[in-house]
């Protein structure tokens, strides 16, 4: 593994924030996974033993990607917040390489967090009897695989946004608010088919969502997510490369 990526992994491993975020991801996933179990049997909620309940519990692992996105944002913005960017860019004068290394490191961590989150959701599912091997089918497997592969892509998106915005509070708040709330608001105001091409639409397609209308094919969703990530990363790189660093 290149030295730069290893250095970034070291930075992630030895600072407090990534660990706090991993704990957040686990707690969030556990809370979201327990939610459908407690709801099961009530009006409007799928019962235990149905594929819908299984999907709801395993789908809880889908929100943790946001935490990896925040991790990506922090990986870049923390260097500016703490003023370590000067030393980093003096050590590696080609700034684009630093950003690529950060992207690679965050993607690796993203895969690890995805595996942990899946383990948490599966544990809740197996313990409650919601996850039964007989219920698994290729569609469900594709959904879980898509949700988990979205983690590293979200991380890459985070690195791109962090490089683009730099001011840490804004860079963290904007994407979160967008994913959780603003995108829904914005999509009310545009024609229906456009929604399929949004960040949320791309994730729905890539994660084989069955409960969304106007969803793109899975492969297109994946390409779209990768495209968004690369576009943001390129824009961010252009901005960082030309920036005065003090």
């Amino acid at each position: 593994m290149p030295a730069l990526v290893r250095a970034e992994l070291l930075a992630l491993r030895t600072t407090r924030m990534p660990w706090a975020l991993v704990v957040t991801a686990v707690v969030l996933t556990a809370a979201l996974a327990v939610d459908p179990v407690l709801d099961a049997g009530k009006a409007g909620a799928p019962s235990i033993g149905t594929a819908a309940a299984l999907l709801a519990v395993l789908g809880a692992a889908g929100r943790g990607g946001l935490v990896v996105l925040v991790l990506g944002v922090l990986a870049v913005t923390a260097e500016f917040r703490h003023g370590t960017a000067s030393a980093t860019f003096l050590g590696t004068a080609q700034r684009a390489r630093v950003l690529v290394a950060k992207g690679a490191a965050v993607m690796l961590v993203g895969v690890a967090v995805a595996v942990v989150d899946l383990a948490v959701a599966s544990t809740v599912g197996l313990a409650s009897g919601v996850v039964q091997p007989s219920l698994l089918n290729p569609d469900i497997v594709l959904r879980v695989v898509g949700l988990l592969l979205a983690y590293p892509l979200y991380g890459l998106i985070g690195v791109g946004i962090g490089a683009l915005v730099i001011y840490q509070p804004v860079a963290v708040l904007l994407p979160l608010a967008w994913v959780v709330y603003l995108e829904d608001l914005a999509l009310h105001l545009v024609p229906r088919p456009v929604a399929a091409w949004s960040a949320g639409g791309a994730l729905a397609a890539f994660s084989n969502a069955g409960d969304v209308t106007d969803v793109l094919p899975m492969a297109v969703g994946g390409v779209l997510l990768v495209g968004y990530a690369l576009a943001l990363l390129s824009l961010g790189t252009v901005r960082i490369v030309r920036r005065d660093i003090t």
Binding site: L28, A31, L32, V34, D35, L38, D39, V70, L74, T77, R81, Q168, P169, V172, L173, L176, A177, V180, Y181, L182, L185, A186, H188, L189
Partner: protein, 244 residues
């Protein structure tokens, strides 16, 4: 103390974040209003000219007030973020008074923002032909209520900011709390807890109805209790803290 509050107001007036947040408040309000307006004529949507539609349109200003919460957080934390707090505390060594002035300044700024958002929401509704131009007493009571709600959001923001200090964390925590944690509460069978939580109390204070919602004045007291519970220990910690 008035000089301190005046300098905090000057700070609010002359920094970019304030105006950015005001713009965000307008965008949120108009965005939600557009959603309500585009829903007219749909299933379950309030009819043109109805009191429900008026309430729904004016309610879009309530969404914009989330930016006021952020204003409180930013006002409390940005001096730590930019390390200007050293010179501020050198000029005014009684740190508690500085924090008090910040809270007062934000609480003063918030009500006019609420009025502005309501005027924008109401005007847009009238221009869109969705509500009539007459101002009813209910509309005025919504205005009065929103001014209190806005001041409470600002104070909650100050409380969160003072308690957490790290701006990034302080900005995320309310978002996660109000949009994720409090929405998960009913699923865990804890709905009885909702009227006593900050989000539930703010909803009741803003006139929202849900099972178990408190009367407005009780909700106000609940919110104030949260503000004090955040602000007092936070201020205590800041007073004793090394500032570099």
């Amino acid at each position: 103390m008035t000089a301190l509050i005046r300098s905090e107001l000057l700070r609010l007036r002359t920094t970019r974040a304030t105006w950015g947040l005001l713009a965000a408040a307008l965008v949120l309000t108009l965005g939600w209003e557009a959603v309500v307006l585009s829903g007219i004529g749909g299933i379950d949507a309030p009819a043109r000219g109805s009191a429900e539609l008026r309430d729904a349109l004016l309610g879009s200003a309530g969404l914009g007030l989330f930016a006021v919460l952020m204003l409180g957080v930013v006002a409390a934390t940005s001096e730590f973020h930019h390390a200007t707090v050293t010179s501020t505390f050198l000029a005014t060594p009684r740190r508690g008074r500085v924090l008090g002035a910040k809270a007062a300044a934000c609480a003063l700024v918030a009500p006019p923002v609420a009025v502005l958002l309501l005027v924008v929401a109401w005007t847009t509704g009238v221009l869109a032909g969705a509500i009539s131009m007459t101002v009813e007493t209910e509309t005025l009571s919504v205005v009065a209520r929103s001014m209190v709600v806005a001041a409470c959001w600002a104070l909650l923001g100050i409380g969160v900011g003072v308690a957490i200090r790290n701006q990034t964390v302080a900005v995320i925590v309310p978002l996660v709390w109000f949009l994720v944690i409090e929405t998960l509460i009913p699923a865990y069978g804890l709905s009885w807890l909702l009227p006593w939580l900050p989000g539930g109390a703010m909803t009741a204070l803003a006139g929202g109805r849900y099972p178990g919602a408190q009367a407005a004045w009780v909700a106000f007291l609940v919110v104030m209790a949260y503000v004090l519970a955040l602000l007092v220990p936070g201020a205590q910690a800041i007073r004793r803290r090394d500032i570099t």
